[in-house]
């Protein structure tokens, strides 16, 4: 097996996604430690120009119309072809909508191990270790990355994004693919835009976030009242959106929005990695949860173990008094 590190690039509407830049920076570090090369696999149509934004030694490229939009089948076939002979040490991808489909399918197709939900990768005594979050962030598992080529999906935001100027001049090589791909069973039809929302939660300075702990939609007005007093808006974790209590535009996390408000006030949210990824960069995070072991307390700046339903009206009242005092 080789020592090289590979990264599978992701891009959307002509731009590389942050996760790709994060993985390239991490991949560089791992490749350097192993005195090996860093390669990025770039699949798409009219994407050759993106190669110069990648600080890699090699970019393996597929630039064809069939790859204009992501489909798990075509992307998996190209990666399978590229990986067949190369056998790198590890292939890093995002634990994202794209990466998650590829990770498992490729792992079965080329019979190599895979790891998901990775938040840390490090070399110790010449060995590669990966740490993953499981059970909604309640446990971490550290794994010695198997000696075979291993596919690893990393949670976005786990590694710092490098400065924009870090790009290099990678050598660009085409991945040999058959002139016509075998008949593809999955076809892209169209991109569905997010429904128009009443508020853009990415632009609001204060977010009052509610999770499953809010228990039923009758408790939403009290969160809205608090948001109003603080000059903010209400957003939510996935279960609240899936129940139809709030529109999709209010969802924070992996499939929702990424927000960075001045204040993120989380009520009854456990802090699962898929939620955390969307709000971790908030300037001030205050979490309220009845479970002292809720993972959200691991990353929040401030916390309180108490019933959110009881606390919200009290907070609203206190905040109202404070703002009246300020005005007078």
């Amino acid at each position: 097996m080789g020592k090289d590190i590979w990264v599978v690039a992701e891009h959307f509407q002509g731009h590389l996604n942050d996760i790709t830049l994060e993985l390239v920076a991490k991949g560089r570090e791992l490749a350097q430690a192993a005195e090996a090369k860093l390669a990025v696999v770039l699949l798409g149509s009219k994407v050759k120009g993106l190669a110069s934004e990648l600080a890699a030694d090699v970019v393996y490229l597929v630039d064809r119309p069939e790859f204009r939009e992501f489909t798990p089948e075509a992307y998996c076939a190209a990666l399978e072809a590229a990986l067949k002979d190369a056998q790198p040490r590890a292939v890093l991808m995002g634990s994202t909508s794209v990466g998650l489909d590829l990770l498992s399918m490729l792992s079965a197709r080329i019979a190599c191990p895979c790891l998901d939900n990775c938040t840390r990768l490090e070399v110790r005594d010449g060995r590669l270790f990966a740490t993953s979050q499981i059970y909604g962030g309640k446990l971490f598992v550290e794994v010695a990355v198997p000696e075979a080529t291993t596919l690893i999906a990393v949670i976005p935001g786990s590694f710092p994004r490098p400065e924009a100027s870090a790009a290099g001049r990678p050598e660009v090589q085409d991945i040999p693919l058959p002139a016509t791909l075998p008949e593809l069973r999955i076809k892209f039809r169209k991109l569905i835009e997010p429904p128009p929302g009443d508020v853009d939660i990415t632009q609001v300075p204060v977010l009052v976030a509610v999770g499953r702990g809010i228990q039923n939609p009758d408790n939403l007005p009290m969160a809205e009242k608090l948001a109003e007093v603080l000059g903010g808006a209400v957003c939510a974790s996935r279960p609240v959106i899936d129940q139809g209590w709030l529109p999709l535009t209010r969802q924070v996390g992996k499939s929702g929005m990424t927000v960075k408000p001045k204040l993120y006030l989380a009520f009854g949210i456990s802090g699962a990695p898929e939620h955390w990824e969307g709000m971790k960069n908030s300037e001030l995070i205050v979490a309220v949860n009845t479970d002292p072991k809720a993972p959200i307390f691991g990353g929040a700046h401030y916390g309180a173990v108490t019933d959110a339903l009881e606390l919200i009206p009290l907070l609203t009242e206190e905040a109202r008094k404070a703002s009246m005092k300020k005005a007078s």
Partner: protein
């Protein structure tokens, strides 16, 4: 149209999970099992499809945890057949092993759609749907939030979620495996009285399988994020907590 729903049970996080004395695995005695949340959505989507197009829904579950109740619940929700897969394993194996077990169970059966939850909370080695599709050489799409049939039962039109509220609409030739993220409506509620009634006559079929050679990654250690780690905790009565939090807001000039 034939729809298979593949499910597994996972630890109930409300009950908490403890690490065993080896420090490398979860203590099985600390766990209460429940149906994986996204598998519940996969079942709901299957039942919704059956309400729109004539279809037969069959649910399969591995035998870890108290599966019988879950399978009866599936019958009450509208599944036509439920099958408990006996593996003889005491704890839930890795997803590679789970996928191989399901691949052998599905061998020789004919399904147009195979639905499973896109991800379970205990997934470490990838997700079941993608692995299974890889083994069976079927097309796979994960993070699916909507499924519609087109062209009779030869094609499905699915919505796959992307960040920021975007989605892709994809056309998928059947048979195919789909990893369901969320059903089009929240999983339906079945009153206890109805469940009891179903349980009286429920037929849960059982199928013996021999588990394949386990395929796992070597865990070095398992650990918990330290309790309250990071966060400065406010304490006291709810009134005292409220006043401390608002004190913090004032200090940070967050009060209007």
């Amino acid at each position: 149209m034939n729809i298979a729903v593949l499910t597994k049970q996972v630890p109930d996080l409300v009950e908490g999970v403890e690490i065993d004395s080896t420090g490398k695995a979860v203590d099985p005695d600390s766990i209460r099992y429940i149906l994986s949340e996204s598998d519940d959505h996969a079942l709901e989507e299957a039942v919704l499809l059956k309400e729109r197009t004539p279809a037969r829904v069959e649910m399969f579950s591995l035998d870890t945890g108290e599966v019988r109740d879950t399978l009866c619940m599936a019958l009450a929700k509208g599944a036509d057949r439920v099958v408990l897969i006996r593996t003889g394993l005491e704890t839930l194996p890795s997803n590679h092993t789970v996928a191989k077990i399901f691949a052998s169970v599905l061998q020789g059966l004919s399904f147009d759609l195979i639905l499973t939850g896109v991800r379970a909370i205990d997934d470490l080695d990838g997700s079941l749907g993608g692995l299974l599709a890889g083994y069976l050489n079927l097309p796979y799409v994960g993070l699916v939030r909507k499924v519609e049939m087109a062209d009779g039962t030869s094609m499905a039109i699915v919505q796959k979620e992307y960040p920021g509220g975007y989605a892709a609409e994809l056309e998928v030739k059947l048979p195919a495996v789909l990893g369901i993220q969320a059903a089009e409506q929240p999983p339906r509620y079945v009153p206890v009285s109805r469940l009891r009634q179903v349980m009286k006559t429920a037929k849960v079929e059982e199928k013996e399988t021999t588990a394949p050679e386990p395929e796992t990654v070597a865990v070095e250690r398992m650990f918990k994020p330290e309790e309250g780690m990071g966060a400065t905790m406010f304490s006291g009565t709810p009134e005292e907590i409220a006043s401390q939090i608002v004190g913090l807001f004032s200090e940070r000039r967050l009060v209007r």
